[in-house]
């Protein structure tokens, strides 16, 4: 009887641990998504500082261990892009450049999110008068976009 109870407890603990491991990633993703929604609301109310604070706080949240690194990069790069775009809209190219560069340091993928960061940094460099730097970033963004277009048209894969 005692053995059966012990085995049941162990199985329950294992199930709970398994659930909590991915539950952390799910919560983290939901938290980042919520940050975008709250930032949208604050911006609609004209509260730029509030939106900035919410997005910045979301970038500082540690990624749960059980999150795939590629998924984590996508989520974090999107948050960085939001902040870079927000700073550009406030005519703060230095800050925009800083957020875009920090986002690109998280990794490079052939996806919309990496391309967006190149575009945001290109815009910031353009505003700072660095035309050649901006061209390089636009070029890198276009390479990704072209690859995505090819893929959507079925040219990317043999």
């Amino acid at each position: 009887m005692t053995r059966v109870a012990c085995a049941t407890v162990l199985v329950l603990v294992a199930l709970l641990a398994g659930c909590s491991a991915t539950r952390g990633s799910e919560d983290w993703v939901a938290q980042a998504e919520s940050a975008h929604h709250v930032a949208d609301e604050r911006l609609a109310q004209g509260d730029v500082d509030g939106a900035r604070q919410v997005l910045r706080s979301a970038t500082e949240t540690s990624v749960p261990k059980k999150t795939n690194p590629e998924d984590a990069r996508v989520v974090r790069q999107d948050l960085h892009y939001r902040l870079a775009a927000l700073e550009l809209s406030q005519n703060r190219p230095d800050e925009a450049r800083r957020w875009a560069t920090a986002g690109l340091e998280l990794g490079r993928g052939t996806d919309v999110f990496t391309a967006n960061l190149y575009i945001a940094r290109g815009k910031a460099l353009e505003k700072q008068g660095d035309a050649s730097g901006a061209s390089r970033d636009y070029h890198d963004a276009l390479l990704i976009t072209e690859a995505l277009l090819d893929k959507s048209l079925g040219k990317g894969t043999p």
């Binding site: 162990l10 294992a14 641990a17 491991a21 939901a30 998504e33 059980k66 976009t145």
Partner: protein, 153 residues
């Protein structure tokens, strides 16, 4: 005891009583050699036959002295069991936490409108990123939906 003595001393009486009790039961505080001798004499007399009344008396005496077996499940056993269970649970948790991360989510393909907005944003004519942001919004919703589904399983 000296046969010439008239009255045995208290000590001698106690010794005699102990020996009598030991002879009765075959063991006890009396010297083993004396017990052995007594047993041999008794065997020579009746070949070890035991009187039923005495047999019953011996059994009753043995039963009255017998103590119930001590229960082994003390607080120590419970503590060790709880510790073992906790250790096993912790090991299970560690094994699951340190396992490999799940595969990357299969994100939805970006819509053509979003890719077009990206291309337009790379030109100097595009002063703002707002058009790109507007096209990105629905795609972001789709991406987060995929991620939540992936990790919510």
């Amino acid at each position: 005891m000296n046969p010439d003595d008239i009255e045995p001393t208290a000590e001698e009486l106690a010794e005699a009583e102990e020996l009598a009790r030991a002879l009765e039961r075959g063991h006890g505080p009396a010297p083993a050699k004396e017990l052995e001798t007594a047993a041999l004499l008794r065997y020579a007399k009746d070949r070890g036959a035991l009187d039923p009344a005495r047999s019953q008396l011996t059994l009753d005496d043995a039963l009255s002295r017998a103590r119930p077996r001590k229960r082994t499940s003390s607080w120590r056993v419970i503590l060790i069991g709880a510790f073992g269970l906790s250790a096993a649970a912790a090991a299970t948790l560690l094994a699951l936490q340190s396992g490999p991360a799940p595969e990357a989510s299969a994100l939805p393909a970006p819509p053509r409108a979003l890719l077009d907005a990206q291309i337009r944003a790379t030109t100097s004519e595009a002063a703002s990123l707002e058009p790109l942001g507007a096209e990105l919004k629905p795609y972001r919703v789709a991406v987060y939906s995929t991620l939540r589904e992936h990790y919510g399983r």
